[in-house]
């Protein structure tokens, strides 16, 4: 199948769809694709807003936050970084319930949505060490919509049981937990997570991917509904938005990515 978009552009579009109706999306370090997805969702939300509202008056000062309907905060970003209270502010802000969605990765993710960012092997005697757990052990609890992002869909990443729980997918009922995993986006499919059942359900497969291929490459059990639709690919208008609106904005934080993947030059 011939595509007129890069795999990253497909994922940016698919991730953005999961951010519909979120007020405030925060994006962590080293996350060009999630960051672009958030900026795309913002641009789409602005478009809806403009279509649905009266002509604005007193433009420049009519509404702060640049009039964006959705707020996007890119941590440590050279743009779209609203934080002025030091490294703790992202976490405090999340604890206050002011962040609606956030992305987490996982070197390992298991069927109960436990994530491992730390290493492989019997802790502390690891066979393979990764970077570490970052803030996952906290944000996974307090941000309502955590989107797990694992572009490498393989049995190496999607395992039956993680070797180390950086952050658990679910908690006992008496644990204060307003947040948690809702969606898993991989390079092959989208899955929804149900915390009560501690189980993923296949939501859609990406163009050219079969359910069998997903099953073959996933190390944990999950539910497969009768009909599995295809994850929508970005249309021409959407690609235009990614390249002309998102590109220049994400270039302020990830110039290399913007140039190599989205074809954005200069800035």
């Amino acid at each position: 199948m011939t595509q007129n978009y890069a795999p990253e552009e497909f994922l940016i579009n698919a991730l953005a769809a999961e951010l519909d109706s979120v007020d405030h999306v925060a994006v962590g370090a080293l996350s060009p694709v999630p960051g672009s997805a958030a900026l795309l969702a913002q641009a789409l939300s602005d478009g809806e807003q403009e279509a649905g509202q009266e002509a604005r008056t007193g433009a420049a000062l009519s509404g702060p936050g640049q009039g964006h309907k959705m707020r996007v905060s890119i941590i440590h970003g050279d743009a779209n970084n609203p934080f002025t209270d030091g490294g703790r502010e992202l976490f405090d802000c999340a604890g206050q319930g002011r962040i609606g969605a956030f992305f987490l990765g996982g070197a390992q993710i298991d069927g109960e949505a436990n994530i491992n960012l730390l290493g492989v092997g019997p802790y502390p005697n690891l066979d393979k060490r990764f970077n570490g757990s970052f803030g996952s052990a906290y944000v996974y609890f307090v941000i309502p919509k955590i989107i797990l992002f694992a572009p490498d869909h393989s049995r190496r990443v999607l395992v039956d049981k993680v070797d180390f729980i950086s952050a658990p997918g679910t908690s006992a009922p008496d644990v204060h937990r307003p947040g948690g995993p809702k969606v898993l986006m991989t390079g092959k499919c989208v899955m929804d997570f149900d915390a009560d059942r501690k189980r993923f359900t296949l939501k859609s497969v990406h163009p050219g991917v079969t359910v069998e291929e997903v099953l073959d490459n996933t190390g944990f059990d999950f539910d497969v509904p009768e009909d599995v639709p295809e994850t929508p690919a970005p249309d021409a208008e959407r690609l235009q938005l990614i390249r002309t609106t998102v590109g220049p904005e994400i270039a302020k934080t990830y110039p290399g990515f913007a140039q190599q993947v989205l074809g954005f030059q200069g800035g």
């Binding site: 702060p64 936050g65 609203p82």
Partner: protein, 268 residues
Amino acid sequence: MTVFEDLDTLAGHVADGALVALAPEYSWVPMALVRALIRHKVRDLHLLCVPIGGLAADMMIGAGVVGTLEAAAVSLGEAGPAPRFIAAVEGRTMTMRDTTCPAIHTALQASEKGVPFMPLSGLIGSDITSHRDDWKVVDDPLGAGGGPIVLLPAIKPDVTLFHSPRADRDGNVWIGRRRELATMAHASATTLVTVETIEDRDFLADETMAAGTLPSLYVTAIAEVEGGARPLGLTDCYERDMDHIRAYGKAAKTEAGFQAYLDEHVLK
């Protein structure tokens, strides 16, 4: 998203019975907004002074706006005691929740961090503590032999109110080194700000300005009100009017004198 409104619309966000946190007394107090709340006949507020009340608190108490007052102290500073506050406490016409300055800061920090409580040193053996049934003295819960310590439940204001010299076009507000204003806003559901002026620029684009800026993320609505802290002062903008404050302190010693002050300076 922050919105820009006029003063009366801004005041309309404060509902009867709300837990309202007010900027510290020595500066940045939104006096024009306080006067608007009095005109709007807002009632039964739980007023939290952060951490000390002054002219604003005394006027709100005198005008019948405050049902419960939580403060480490209330005073008109060099202009002497706060007469309506003292009359309300001695006359038992208002519920008084006595506290101490760092307990207010700490309880707001607990809400800022989204935790249900925070520990604080000291306080044990104070009659403040023995009369606060929401505070709890526990043996070191770490079990490390640290002795007893007081746990303060988080205070989560419904509304924070303050005045600032300036906001930018995106609703970011300059707070300078008055960082308690950030803690208050972080801890609160709603933050209402009056400013001397709204500038057509982006404070966050300038690292020097950004350091003293409360991001619009925490700001619900802003009204441009020149002189909005008068007769109190505002850093680098204007000095407080001590003659006015002394005259208030004198007039407000009686109910009649206070009403006359209200009629002349607030209600007309």
